[in-house]
Symmetry: C2
Subunit: 342 residues, 2 copies
Amino acid sequence: MKDAEVLLERGANVAFFSWSKGFSFGLKACALILVSTLGYVHLSSLSSKGIELIRHDDHTDFSTTSTDQDREYNNTIIVITPTYKRPERLADITMLSQTLMHIPNVFWLVIEDGDYKVEKVENVLKRTGLRYAYVNTTNQGLPCRGWAHRNYAFDWIRANRKHFKSNDVVFFGDDDNAYDLRLFRDYIPNVKVMGAWAVGTSGSTLVESPKVNKEGKLAGWHVMFRPDRKYATDMAGFALNIDVLINSNASFNLHCAGSVPEECFLRQVNVPWSNIQVFGYDQDDVLIWHRKTAAGQYDENFPHNGYFTETLKIQPKSCQRMQPINHISYEEALRLFNKGDN
Amino acid sequence: MKDAEVLLERGANVAFFSWSKGFSFGLKACALILVSTLGYVHLSSLSSKGIELIRHDDHTDFSTTSTDQDREYNNTIIVITPTYKRPERLADITMLSQTLMHIPNVFWLVIEDGDYKVEKVENVLKRTGLRYAYVNTTNQGLPCRGWAHRNYAFDWIRANRKHFKSNDVVFFGDDDNAYDLRLFRDYIPNVKVMGAWAVGTSGSTLVESPKVNKEGKLAGWHVMFRPDRKYATDMAGFALNIDVLINSNASFNLHCAGSVPEECFLRQVNVPWSNIQVFGYDQDDVLIWHRKTAAGQYDENFPHNGYFTETLKIQPKSCQRMQPINHISYEEALRLFNKGDN
């Protein structure tokens, strides 16, 4: 069992990287040409303000797919999507994939929560025709809802920085939210430093949104919970310029204990309000909804008759321990962290 | 209040009909030309085996949009989607719309549950560029989960039969399910009489599916609940040829009391098993998942700051009364029906 785990851990750190026209060698006309540029990329260790996390060797496979897009885009949207195994996961990620397929300037960075990747998930990504990378990491003792996975994404972007442009934009696109295409067409590509917008069905309200003053500049946040936060936005309510993000060295780390993850993270990025563009304040459409697929009660013993299904991933004990992270002190969080994953 | 209700009822029955190239007058080159052919279409009354339901006059507005599809399709998929007002509805229908946008041979027939239609929903339909109709009806005393709405769709198709071809296919596509594009590309367009396939996260199982014999012919159903049903499928697990459906006069009616709606309906359609094509039994991919967006707890008094939101539609009392419909007799159902909606 222990050996199997070690093997899984090794096999786990393989990243696939699919690159479209405009990059690589201009193989526009080809339907599906795989260019394998294999190489081990040594990722810098994840540092979270004094806490040394697990070091990852990232085996990145660069491959190329061409797409038949006739529209030229000025920049790329890097969509960071943490995901985890559950019965409803393929449903969620399939629907999201079909939304993103309308947006040719997306680079989809999907981070599997766990020791291995799932072929059926990678197949979904492949079918989009989008550029993507599919990687995986454990939760590394941090809370389970994407903390370590987003940190891993930041390091992945750093390691692959040369493949992106300085005006590319990073967006957190969870696999269970709902997105209107116009978010990707009208808002995110136009983000210079940081952009912010309304999020539907979020935080006990039908809609949360940034407030603006007469000049259309950010003037606060229309939220129910702690509206005095400096960045009172949901993860889905903002996007950041690639270098603003990765040069900040911001991460989801144990110093976020006692705070809200988004607030903690954005305080590290520290974009002045004057540099935050507010989108959509002059219209009444919501373009993104925070949502969750209802978890069903399934009899996992009923045979799946040969069809591929997923059961709920059993989370390490540290996830449960870390659940009250928003309400505990850093010292208490550190104590729980040192107990490890099991 | 009574007069207002009558006005609402009248205003309610307006149907919009959007038609693409290939139909109408060959206005292929135009981006968005509205051809208004106004005319009252007298719909036949909904009959449900002895129960006279409300008679509807349907004001149908035929309009034309052109689409830039370079692929020619042999037939049209009529997707019937009942929908109702709730905080998560626009999120659901937006995601579904973006999936359907990949399928140019879809005609989307959306039936609003209630006395009026919702402009924001119609805007979603318009943005797809697909042919569509958006209509509305109350639940007409029947159970609230789409019974009257699907019946209304059948009558709508009968009234507009001339706009469809004899090899067109009808599919029930609820707005909260998840769909893989391949369902619309590889399965449904190839349905001759009736098609059936696996459905993920359905009926307390991770996957329900039709069983096949060695010849690939339907041989039963791999479901947990009453596997001896003649048609043991979820609403999402089959599609029907247009004429097989509307010539059958099948409906969701009070004689379905004591049964499962799908089984009751399909027993009326009565396609022999030998005429049911089973799709996907030789692969392990699930292409459709029965799912539901988790209903959040929102403070409806918190102002929406000018953004459009929806609250949960208060359902008529008959819905609650009819909830045990699967377990009561026809006579008991009839008694509840005669109590009316309020």
